[in-house]
């Protein structure tokens, strides 16, 4: 086996710079002559702008320029776009109100962008912003997801009657109704998927520089996908032609979805640096992140399951109202539709599913993908409903799951909701998780807890998700404006070391390590001689970036394909040098060998020959540098069972997670250490949603959870350490045999935690976040 190859927990290449304080995040970058920007934001949830007077601000000390929406419009800068079309039940595309980067006559949420002030220092920019006089005509606000489409609500956008973005029915409505009519039992549940603020720890930032000589804009920005940013800013926002715009996503301090999207600040900073012909830097503070980062989740839903007398699922019906906020963010329409309804089968053979999703506008920040994006919402709803079904049928939650699992010999399995799962063994994961969690021993532990005045509960969550986003043809059919393949270039330098250029982006995932492991495994080049390059449109070829656990499953395969091309070319070069037939050359562990002899040359020597082709195969191009693209045939389908055990103090409502066990099927693991870290982080994101995090607006549209004092993030003392194991299956649709692991924890954990709490209290349901107050109230009701 190659040292540091696939399957080894290699320590990360990227760690040293972060540990010694030499990371290079956007706000760490400073350039000569830079100015500082501050955005004046709407203090109102919903208001007309009657007038804006910038004269005092423009004259304020140190202020370089003040711009409003009119200035952007005068320069022909386009509005922010949403890249995925959903067809509404009237046959029309979803309603897409204009989303100007700086407001045009109206503001639609607190934090909406009104003006940019550019000054010599940030303090001067802030002082200047205070001198802008805006005359607002305050309007009533729409803030409740469930009520947004009601007739008595004020209308936010002219193009969207009743604040409806789309109504998207999907599935066999009549078939489901018939199955419900003749079912032995129907279980029903109403639930809320609480709104989250994604909260990567690094706030968003942008630094724009304009070169008056080359007429090129360089935009450093906190992005998960620099090329997507460049494409959108060029093609749709008319910021600059693609070849005159360089987007750099340097070190990025976490994304979790929030840094996929093209935001107003980035566009305005990019435009303004050309306008003032000086570098412009903007760094958001945490409150701005709460106000104006895209939020996540925010559904209100009703779910019903029809069953026969054995608890077999016959049909499921789901009605969902999803809040998209004030405007459509980049991927927003796709999240509560395709990424949600197509996952409603979960791990089960439910033959009939009908879903109706009503997506609404409200006077709140735009809502888009947040770790898991649609799949956590689907999984939470389904796994909660399954527990309610178990309760109604008087079955153990593990038993009802077992009775309905897709059997392992049924793969590939076509679900009634589009997805065709390529591989899985759900019983194996459940069994392993039950051993890991000592499920059998739970009743004794529960009894022991009662003796101490506590209530113990145990909760299961058997999830499946669709990752490796995504087959271009499939997403194209669904209305995506882009293809979701990935690209790679693997370049040998003449001295034999290797640079790997990937279109994905790493913001915590450790690609610089994992991708080097792929290459060392395949080409036999020492791990330390491989450098992974990403995040700069001037360095890497076009690629789609990182989200949806796609980097390894899609981007990794592109790298492997480029390596294969190098091996093919290398055989020709080696054959010539070793005076053998090309067909007789074998490649292993970095050496090209003439079969059956000890004649060999290593890949570094081959690379040197390719760059110094003095004696070289006739007609073969010099150079040892190959690129490849990979467009997957299918999504990948990570799955697993997580089991959470809690202890509830009914006097205080405090929930303690006493044990958490996760068994996942991610296919093959390239770096188990990194995978385990992804699982841990995902679980805590999910625990945060289940126990702590809840984003709230008041009825006027004021965000009342806009700091870490009002919005509870999970901290080290809120969670335990975790027991993590795997039950892998081999996915035939992925050439590397990998599935993706970044979102699993955030998807699996919320229902596992809530199922444990409802089990502890003997109640049907409790909404998230299950804060001490909510749990205490529920416990009083249950007592």
């Amino acid at each position: 086996m190659v040292e540091n190859g696939i399957g080894v927990s290699v320590l990360r290449k990227e760690d040293k710079r972060f540990l010694i304080g030499k990371g290079n995040y956007t706000d760490d970058i400073n350039v000569a002559g830079q100015t500082h920007a501050y955005f004046l934001r709407s203090p109102h949830g919903h208001a007309t702008i009657e007038s804006i007077d910038i004269s005092a601000a423009a004259a304020s000390a140190g202020v370089v320029a003040v711009f409003t929406g009119d200035d952007l419009a005068a320069d022909g800068i386009g509005t922010l776009i949403c890249g995925v079309t959903v067809t509404s039940d009237d046959g029309e595309p979803h309603r897409a109100p204009a989303h100007p980067a700086l407001a045009q006559g109206k503001v639609n949420y607190v934090g909406d962008h009104v003006a940019i002030v550019i000054a010599e220092t940030l303090a001067q920019a802030k002082d200047g912003a205070e001198k802008i006089a805006v005359d607002y005509g305050v309007l009533p606000a729409v803030t409740e997801t469930a009520r947004a489409a009601d007739d008595d609500q004020v209308q936010i956008h002219e193009v969207a009657p009743n604040n409806m973005c789309f109504n998207w029915p999907f599935g066999d409505k009549e078939g489901v109704e018939a199955a419900f009519a003749s079912a032995h039992k129907v279980s029903r549940l109403e639930l809320i998927n609480n709104r989250m603020v994604t909260n990567p720890m690094e706030p968003r930032a942008s630094l724009g520089e304009y070169n008056t000589g080359t007429e090129e804009i360089t935009l450093h920005v906190t992005t998960q996908n620099p090329h997507v940013h460049r494409l959108v800013l060029s093609a749709f926002n008319q910021l600059a032609p693609e070849h005159k715009l360089r987007v750099v996503g340097p070190d990025v301090g976490g994304g979790f979805g929030a840094k996929i999207f093209v935001y107003a600040e980035e566009l305005v900073v990019g435009w303004a640096c050309r306008k003032v012909e000086r570098p412009v830097k903007w760094t958001g503070d945490r409150t701005e992140a709460f106000l104006a980062d895209a939020h996540g989740r925010d559904h209100v839903a009703t779910a019903e399951m029809a069953m026969d007398e054995d608890g077999k699922f016959l049909a499921m019906r789901v009605m969902t109202q999803a809040n998209l906020g004030a405007y459509l963010s980049t991927f927003s329409t796709m999240v509560p539709s395709y990424l949600y309804a197509f996952l409603l089968a979960g791990q089960y053979t439910t033959p009939l599913i009908y879903s109706e999703v009503k997506a609404v506008f409200t006077n709140t920040a735009p809502v888009d993908a947040c770790r898991g994006a649609g799949r956590p919402e689907a999984t939470y709803l389904l796994e909660r409903l399954v527990d309610v079904a178990a309760r109604d049928m008087d079955l153990d939650p593990a038993e009802i799951r077992r009775r309905n699992f897709i059997p392992k010999d049924a793969f590939p399995y076509q679900t009634p909701v589009v997805q065709c799962y390529d591989s899985g063994d759900y019983v194996a994961a459940l069994d392993k998780a039950m051993v890991l969690a000592d499920y059998e021993g739970f009743p004794a532990r529960a009894t022991e807890a009662i003796a101490r005045g506590k209530r113990r509960g145990i909760g299961l969550s058997s999830y499946v998700e669709a990752c490796g986003i995504a087959p271009s043809a499939a997403v194209g059919q669904l209305g995506a404006g882009v293809g979701l393949w990935e690209s790679a270039q693997v370049r040998f330098n003449p001295t034999g070391n290797v640079q790997v250029f990937t279109g994905t982006h790493s913001h915590g995932q450790g690609h610089e390590t994992t991708f080097a492991q792929l290459v060392t495994e395949q080409l036999g080049v020492p791990f330390e001689n491989i450098e992974v390059v990403h995040g700069d449109t001037a360095k890497t070829q076009f690629g789609m970036g990182t989200y949806g656990s796609r980097s390894l499953a899609v981007g990794g395969v592109a790298i492997a394909k480029a390596c294969e091309k190098l091996i093919t070319k290398g055989k020709k070069i080696a054959a010539h040098a070793l005076e053998a037939a090309e067909g007789d050359i074998e490649f292993a562990d970095g050496n090209f060998t003439v079969a059956g002899t000890d004649k060999a040359m290593n890949i570094g020597e081959v690379a040197f020959n390719a760059y110094v082709p003095h004696s070289y195969p006739e007609g073969l191009e010099p150079g040892f540098d190959e690129n490849a693209f990979f467009d997957p045939l299918n999504f990948s389908f990570p799955a697993g069972t997580h089991i959470c055990e809690v202890e509830v103090d009914t006097d205080t409502g405090v929930v303690e997670i006493v044990k958490y066990s996760a068994v996942d099927d991610f296919g093959k693991l390239v770096n188990p250490m990194i995978v385990e870290g992804q699982v841990h982080g995902g679980i805590v994101h999910g625990v945060g949603q289940a126990l702590l995090e809840g984003c709230r607006y008041d009825s006027e549209g004021q965000l009342i959870t806009a700091t870490y004092m009002d919005y509870a993030m999970p901290r080290a003392d809120n969670v335990p350490s975790f027991d993590v194991d795997y039950a892998p299956t081999d996915p035939p649709d992925n050439p590397l045999g990998v599935k993706g692991c970044g979102e699993a924890g955030a998807i699996a954990a919320p229902p596992a935690v809530i199922n444990a709490i409802t089990n502890a209290l003997g109640i049907k349901h409790i909404d998230m976040p299950a804060t001490p107050e909510n749990v205490w109230r529920a416990a009083q009701g249950a007592a």
Binding site: G21, D285, E676, M713
Partner: protein
Amino acid sequence: MPIVNINVNGKLVSAEVEGRTLLVQFLRENLRLTGTHVGCDTSQCGACVVHVDGKSVKACTMLAVMADACEVTTIEGLANNGSMHPMQQAFMDNHGLQCGFCTPGMVMTALDIVNRNGNDLDDSTVRKELEGNICRCTGYHNIVKSVKAGAKTMGE
């Protein structure tokens, strides 16, 4: 504007600062020591933790003028002759970081935990002590492991 004299990572720095300049701004902007991060505006996240006269402090909670005549150590001041401090090494060995943004604050806090609690730490002590530092990436599991391991090595 007031002048401050601060010993930062063993070097004496004299500079004019505005009264409203926070210590973290002074480090990041005046001295370009960008390893200390800003993750919030309410002193909740701990990304900005440095040591002032040997004690951990949230550098967003202190004015630069308050650090006058003090000794400040930042994440950049820990490595010795190019080799990482045992606590930094422990974070690397135990995968105690992902995106790296919370990491400098975590490491500086970890050292303070060791200073006050010794080298033999249990999980619950570490978890309680880390209450002022938020990480969105790691789920804390490997940070707790890192702090315990680093503490142990420091005692050897």
